[in-house]
Structure formats: structure tokens, C-alpha cells
């Protein structure tokens, strides 16, 4: 149908426009922050740069979740774990960069190890003084965990609610593990007090602007990549697995492989988001593994519209913006507002903001098309039956129901 074609075109355009906007923001915000004096009305204050930079990494996390949840039907309630792992890998690099500027002045051991009376650097901290090594670990740690976890879970055909629960258990287990001091990741306090990143002072406005730009560009790039993935034949398979897993299996595909791949890619994206998050907020602690964090990511994605790529980005920015504003005026009620928001979205906007917008546009377009065809029919002389010479009544062709016309995949239950 024509509307479907238009829709696909529209969704590609939306991805491109969003990526371009992000690229423009990546340039514009740092310039407005650094080049203009604070007195100028166009000056972007430092706290805004830090805040929005943080939200952009959240948006990247929501985008990662959308790939597995929106397209592959895997409702992960543990994506915060991959985010935190990427964050810890970055945090370990930043810790090693402190060198002898720590409170205890030990050139090798981070402060918390000196405090715990450790004599040597644990083996898993080796290499983190090099950025390239940390960069590999940012990708490898969440990716490997997701691969191994997914390999076992999907091979055993764990799906739906059960899978959601074990992802939640995964992040909870990591939370407990990272709280322990003997794990060697700073225990309760986590990693903080960072000084330099790549030789630049983490606190300097230029570095902050650079991290902001990196977050925006990473998000734009991730958006283009996920868009390419979802439009490929593999992307169609992800949706096929989401909608009819057994059918996919009986035409010879292995749904477990399709899921493991999506889950791993998504975890890597989440890890990169975490790595960009940590230098901007200046701390990583086990609290990032809290199950509630992962559930919040699901809320952002649902609010924006799952299975739309751009939706989760908008959802993450809006909900977090709302959170900052709301906690400023009524701090005690934020959790109620978040819960209420999720209920309201589920009830009134089941497809999220972007999904609802698309349905509305599609139904308007269909109405316009119907009106136009009708006008043309009225204008043209009625067809004449050659046998009788009388006008023939033309049956209106039945139209498909609008949910199908809206083009986008209809929201599916979590299983």
C-alpha cells in the first residue's frame, strides 16, 4: 500500500534528521558554551552541558534497549548492568590516570586499595593505564557478558517474563558483587575523584564540551547503525522472531543466534553509553547496577515509543528533563510521577509518543486519500453498464483496518 511505502520513507528521513540534529548539537553547544561570555543570552551554562551530556548517554542506553526490546521482543530488565560495566571500565582507566595525585600519593594503587591495605594491583587492573586497553574493555566486558548470558538463556529457549526476570537477577547479582570491597572495584564508594582523561583535566570546560560532543556524536552514529541493522534482512528476521519465533525456526533460522547477536550488539552500545556517562558525572558506583535503574530505561523507551529508534531517544531526553525539573520543585513526589507516567503511557499512548504520532499521521493521510478518491469519483461521470445503459453502482473497495496502515510494527506483548 502506498501509505506503507511513504511510512518507510518517513521513518528513514526521521532517523537522518535526528542524526543531523545531534551532529549540529555536538558542534553548536560546545561553541555556545566556550566562545560566548556568560553574560550573552546565547551562552550555554556549564551545568546544562553536563546535564544534557548525561541525558545523551541515557538516550544511547534507551536506543540500545530499543534494539532488543522493540525489534527482537526481548524485554531486558538488566540493561543497566551493561551500562555500568562500560562505566566501570572507563572508571578504572580514569583511576589509573590519577597516579600519585591521590590522597595517599601512591603512584600505582588507587586510594581505596591503599586504604584497604592492599600491596599490589590486582591482575584485572593491569592495562587500564592505557586508554586503548580500556576502550577495548568498554566494548568487550558488556559484550562478552551479554554473549555468554544470551547464549545460555536463548539456547534454553527462555523467553518472555522468565527472561526478563533473569536479566533483572543478573543486574542484581552484579550489584551485590560490586558492593563487596574484596571485588577490587572500590566497593560501596565505587570509583571517583577523577583527574584526567586522555591528558585533559576532566573538570575543565573544554573537556566537558568535548565529552558532550562525543556523546552526541556517539548517539548519532549508533542511531545510523541501528537504523541500518533494522532495515537489513537481519533486521526483518529480528521482527520475525519477535512476532512468530516458531515460524522462524521452522523455515530454518536459529532464533537463538538472531537473539544473541542483537543482545550482544545492544550490550556493547549500552557499555559505550556507560563509558561516556562516567567522566561526565565524575563517579561510578554499584548503585548503577540497581534494578530500578534498568526499569527506568524501559520506561524511557516505552514513553518514546518502542520499535521506532528515534522514540526512545526522545523518551529518555523528555523523562530525564522532566525528572530534573520535577525534582527541583517537588522532590518527594518524583517516583509517584514516574509511576503515574508509565501507567498513563501504557493506558493512553501504548505505542509511545512516536508510535502514536505515526498512527495519527497515517490515519490522517488515509482520510485525505479517501476524500480525494471520493472527490475524483464524484467528478467523473458514473460508469455506464453497456448492456442496459444505466449507471452502475461502484462498490467501494474495502479498506484494511487502520492499525495495519499505520505501518510500524504494532506493539506486541512482551513475550
Amino acid at each position: 500500500m502506498i501509505t506503507q511505502r511513504l511510512f518507510t520513507g518517513g521513518s528513514n528521513r526521521r532517523v537522518l534528521v535526528t542524526a543531523l540534529v545531534l551532529a549540529a548539537v555536538a558542534v553548536l553547544v560546545p561553541v555556545l558554551h566556550l566562545a560566548l561570555p556568560p553574560s550573552s543570552p546565547f551562552h550555554v551554562p556549564a551545568y546544562m552541558v553536563a546535564l544534557v551530556g548525561k541525558y545523551l548517554t541515557y538516550a544511547l542506553l534507551a536506543l540500545a534497549l530499543d534494539l532488543v526490546w522493540g525489534y527482537c521482543g526481548i524485554l531486558s530488565l538488566g540493561h543497566g548492568a551493561f551500562f555500568a560495566l562500560g562505566g566501570y571500565a572507563m572508571g578504572m582507566y580514569l583511576m589509573r590516570q590519577i597516579g600519585d595525585r591521590g590522597v595517599y600519593g601512591n603512584p600505582i594503587l588507587p586510594d581505596f586499595m591503599v586504604f584497604l591495605n592492599w600491596k599490589e594491583l590486582p591482575w584485572f587492573w593491569y592495562g587500564f593505564d592505557q586508554f586503548w586497553f580500556a576502550a577495548i574493555m568498554i566494548v568487550l566486558a558488556p559484550g562478552a557478558l551479554a554473549f555468554v548470558f544470551g547464549w545460555f538463556a536463548f539456547r534454553s529457549r527462555v523467553t518472555g517474563v522468565y527472561l526478563s526476570i533473569i536479566t533483572q537477577a543478573l543486574t542484581y547479582a552484579l550489584l551485590l558483587a560490586f558492593f563487596r570491597n574484596d571485588m577490587g572495584f572500590g566497593g560501596n564508594n565505587g570509583l571517583t575523584d577523577f583527574k584526567d582523561i586522555l591528558g585533559f583535566n576532566v573538570q575543565a570546560p573544554e573537556t566537558r564540551a568535548g565529552l558532550f560532543a562525543a556523546s552526541a556524536l556517539a548517539l548519532a552514529l549508533a542511531l545510523l547503525i541501528t537504523s541500518a541493522i533494522t532495515r537489513s534482512k537481519y533486521g526483518m528476521l529480528m521482527v520475525a522472531v519477535r512476532d512468530a519465533e516458531s515460524r522462524t525456526r521452522f523455515i530454518g533460522w536459529r532464533p537463538e543466534n538472531i537473539k544473541v547477536f542483537a543482545f550482544t550488539i545492544s550490550a556493547v552500545m549500552a557499555g559505550i553509553a556507560g563509558a561516556l556517562y562516567v567522566p561526565q558525572v565524575g563517579i561510578i558506583n554499584p548503585g548503577e547496577f540497581a534494578p530500578a535503574n534498568s526499569i527506568e530505561v524501559v520506561v524511557w523507551t516505552a514513553v518514546g515509543g518502542r520499535g521506532t529508534l528515534v522514540g526512545p531517544i526522545i523518551g529518555a531526553l523528555l523523562v530525564n528533563g522532566g525528572k530534573s525539573w520535577f525534582t527541583g520543585i517537588l522532590p518527594e513526589y518524583w517516583l509517584f510521577a514516574l509511576g503515574g507516567l508509565f501507567i498513563a503511557v501504557t493506558l493512553f499512548l501504548p505505542k509511545g509518543i512516536i508510535g502514536t504520532w505515526d498512527s495519527w499521521r497515517a490515519s490522517r493521510r488515509d482520510a485525505a486519500e479517501r476524500a480525494r478518491t471520493k472527490a475524483e469519483e464524484d467528478a467523473a461521470p458514473p460508469p455506464v453498464d453497456p448492456a442496459t445503459g444505466r449507471p452502475v453502482r461502484v462498490e467501494e473497495t474495502p479498506r484494511a483496518p487502520s492499525p495495519g496502515l499505520s505501518g510500524g510494527p504494532a506493539p506486541q506483548p512482551a513475550e
Binding site: 512476532d243 512468530a244 484494511a400 492499525p403 510494527p409
Partner: protein
């Protein structure tokens, strides 16, 4: 019995679920190129038999061979599908958020791993093959429609088309005309007879008119075993079959 020359060979197959014997010492042989209709009352084990052949269920005992040499009990669903057994489910199952054409693209024979799928570009040969299948299942006009918008009968045809796209040697078709209009039923019989010219086919069906229309050898299952086998007239004249269908 010799396995050579058979496309499907089941001998002494049994399976039970929680003490209930769904399939009980079942033996069934299908020659290459043969079309066979399987009938039987509810709970006769028809769908379970298909589950065993396609690797969804492992039999407790017995031999299941495909193409004379392949032991199907040693393979899983995806493997078996790739070896050339296509299965249509009782409830039409297609990818509803994809277009008719894309449904066929996903089913087309070819590599089944991730990276080729990521960088897949459709070749001319593939497009032609899809056109052929669309013509066979008479859905050319709806190629760009979402599968969700098809009628029940059209979904059944699309699913059969997806089986064809897999290029299987043997098709297992479970209740293809359930819920179809008479015209659609007739059309489906024509379609299956067409397919049977080049494939081996097993059709499970309740609808006796439809089975008569197919005009092939019939096997009647009851309580997980073969009750009677032969032409439809022979089978429907069998006292035991009448007893099973009309109650004792």
C-alpha cells in the same frame, strides 16, 4: 521394509507425555513424490507425528528416516528445515508486521547465518523466484501489503508459499483448509495438487470433501497408530474407521 526410495520412513515410533501415549508403535512410509492425506479424530496423534518429523518432539522409541538415509531424531528444527522438510502449522503463522513479499524473502532457501543476512542484497534470481511463488499462491496483487492485512485463507496460502520458498523435498501441511470458504478450499486443493507434482506432501485434514478432492492415498490414525490405509473409499468403508468416527 526397505528405506531406499522413501522420502519419509517411520517405524515403530512411540512417544508418551506424562504417561499418555500420544503415538503408539506408529509406522508410516511415504514414497518419493507421493502425496498422502492423514485423517483421524481429535487426539489421534496427527500433530504429534508432525512434531516428531520436524524435530520438535523426540520419540521415546522407533526409527524416523528422511530421504532414506537421514535419521531425523538426531537433528533439531532448524536443521531439519534446512534438509528439506517444510511445515505449515494448524493456525496460520506468518510474519504479520512484514509485507507478503518480505515474508517470502525470509523463507527463501539460502544461507541461514547472521552476517550474510546483515549484508544481504536481493539478487535477480531471488526476485524471479519470488515472482513465481507469488503467482503460484495467487497473491501477486498483495505483494506489498502487510501480512497482517490478509484474509485467513490468504494467510494459509502465504504460509504454503513460504514453504515453497524454502525449496523443500517434503511438505507437511496441517489442516490447510480449516476456516476457509468453499471457494478457498477448492483453490487450496488445486494449489496442493500443483505442488504435489514436484514435491512429496503430507496433508493432515478433517474435511472429507477436501480429502476427496485431493484424490490421494489416505491414512487414518487413531490413538497414535495407523488404523486403516488405502483409498478414501476403502478407508471410509472400513468398519473400524466408522466405529472411531461415529463412536462406539
Amino acid at each position: 521394509m526397505s528405506k531406499s526410495g522413501t522420502i519419509l520412513y517411520l517405524d515403530g515410533v512411540s512417544v508418551s507425555f506424562d504417561g499418555f501415549r500420544a503415538i503408539n508403535n506408529l509406522s508410516l512410509v511415504l514414497d518419493r513424490g507421493e502425496m498422502r492425506a492423514i485423517i483421524g479424530p481429535n487426539g489421534a496423534g496427527k500433530t504429534t507425528m508432525m512434531d516428531i518429523i520436524t524435530g520438535k518432539t523426540r520419540p521415546d522409541a522407533g526409527e524416523v528416516y528422511f530421504d532414506g538415509t537421514i535419521d531425523l531424531t538426531k537433528h533439531d528444527e532448524a536443521d531439519i528445515a534446512m534438509m528439506g522438510i517444510g511445515r505449515k502449522f494448524q493456525k496460520p503463522t506468518v510474519f504479520e508486521s512484514h509485507t507478503v513479499e518480505d515474508n517470502l524473502v525470509l523463507a527463501l532457501a539460502g544461507p541461514r547465518s547472521i552476517f550474510p543476512a546483515l549484508f544481504h542484497r536481493r539478487s535477480k534470481a531471488e526476485s524471479e523466484h519470488i515472482d513465481e511463488i507469488l503467482a503460484t499462491i495467487r497473491l501477486e496483487a498483495r505483494r506489498n501489503d502487510l501480512a497482517a492485512n490478509l484474509s485467513h485463507g490468504q494467510k494459509q496460502w502465504l504460509e504454503i508459499g513460504m514453504l515453497l520458498a524454502q525449496d523443500p523435498k517434503l511438505l507437511l501441511v496441517d489442516e490447510p483448509v480449516a476456516g476457509m470458504t468453499d471457494a478457498e478450499t477448492e483453490e487450496t486443493a488445486r494449489l496442493l495438487k500443483d505442488i504435489a507434482k514436484t514435491h512429496s506432501v503430507v496433508v493432515v485434514e478433517h474435511d472429507m470433501h477436501f480429502v476427496r478432492e485431493l484424490g490421494v492415498k489416505v491414512t487414518c490414525l487413531h490413538e497414535g497408530a495407523v488404523l486403516s490405509e488405502g483409498t478414501l473409499d476403502h478407508v471410509s468403508a472400513d468398519d473400524r474407521v466408522i466405529e472411531v468416527y461415529l463412536g462406539r
